[in-house]
Symmetry: C2
Subunit: 256 residues, 2 copies
Amino acid sequence: MKVVLLGSGNVATHLGQALKSAGHQILQVWSRTFENAQQLAVSLDASPISDLESLSEEAEIYIISVSDNAIPAVCAQFPFQDKLIVHTSGTTGLDVFDGHLNRCGVFYPLQTFSKQRAVDFQKVPMLIEGSSTNVTGDLLALAKSLSHKAVILNSEQRKALHVAAVFACNFSNHLYSIASEILSQNKMDFDLIRPLIEETAAKAQTFNPQEVQTGPAVRNDQLTLAKHFEFLKDQPELRKIYQLMSQHIINFYQKS
Amino acid sequence: MKVVLLGSGNVATHLGQALKSAGHQILQVWSRTFENAQQLAVSLDASPISDLESLSEEAEIYIISVSDNAIPAVCAQFPFQDKLIVHTSGTTGLDVFDGHLNRCGVFYPLQTFSKQRAVDFQKVPMLIEGSSTNVTGDLLALAKSLSHKAVILNSEQRKALHVAAVFACNFSNHLYSIASEILSQNKMDFDLIRPLIEETAAKAQTFNPQEVQTGPAVRNDQLTLAKHFEFLKDQPELRKIYQLMSQHIINFYQKS
């Protein structure tokens, strides 16, 4: 397909590369900041623009990949009425398109994208929603050209998935950062804990996480919990997280 | 070495198997419950016992691998004065051995062990502490026969490492469980989120987690945070966790 990318952040970058690798043609990359548009456009053999009035009419799909709060402004300035336009946001509904409801949709790749690291897009679940059966079909075909896993979800499900992803990914990564801080405060290297992080995630690939929960809280080992709580006495924020998570684990397994 | 294992839980099971695979001889497996001792002993070609008075004098090392609050009772009943005795606990100090301080130590494998899943022990960091240089040397040699990574830590560092491991592993796994619940409440499969979990942990193998944090909190994307908060309105406990973790992320990256 002929594609215009609106945005130049992590998602736009990885999605653009995946589209190009799959044989699609990126006509333009738009960003409010011309330098950002240019940087991504060069790697995609596309033209950079920073003015929505310069949007090409030639594209078959316009993909908005900007921060959630910037989507409405881009939609409002989008000059075409009958072009297929989608966004890549987990939490934004289809209703954001408002005046462009003729042919619009969502094209949400569920992955954590960092510019420093390549991603195998074939493994990235693509969550699709379309304003009509035709649009959904087109988006599904595009998604399948990029990924082994393309699934149709409605806006409410997609939001739930995004919330779940924040817990499983964003919060987990932050827990790794907390662990890294505790280690460095005590003159130990983060390498010590990397195999544990790897194994924890590897277990979740084949088991339900509830089946393989370990640690003092699931054993309701009050002695160890108390010692850890005492250890964190000078770090009240970490103590709060430790307390809340441990109590949630204890309640979770008492109920089940 | 000739080994007696005191305990029959996850750690004792995995450690026993690793010791046997590395060519060590497990003489006996002790557990308060004879059936548990028997079950593990069979797989290790060892004799099961449930009475500490039947402990063999032949072993070169006695490894206590029971829950932290049960360690003192086992120590108190341990009948030998000059035998090498160790425990496998992250949070328990060397001082638990009290009357057995002649030759004692700690032999702590940092991993999440579940009975359902085999572990490549070569990759498990072994944290060592000994009551004397000789003991430390013996424990280091034993650890190196099992793992590529054997490190000497004092009791305070080992406790810090254990606390860090609770954050990075136990709490992360529980966040996977929370994600799993949210997905199932909204009729989606946990499979959808498995690639994200895998990639999040894979990133932490080569990057510092602070460098690759993603999600609404690190962007301070208040619109998305508010939508997610609203989404969780009927689940006050999850809302509390969402709020506390997001605020901690926001503060963490504002400071740094």
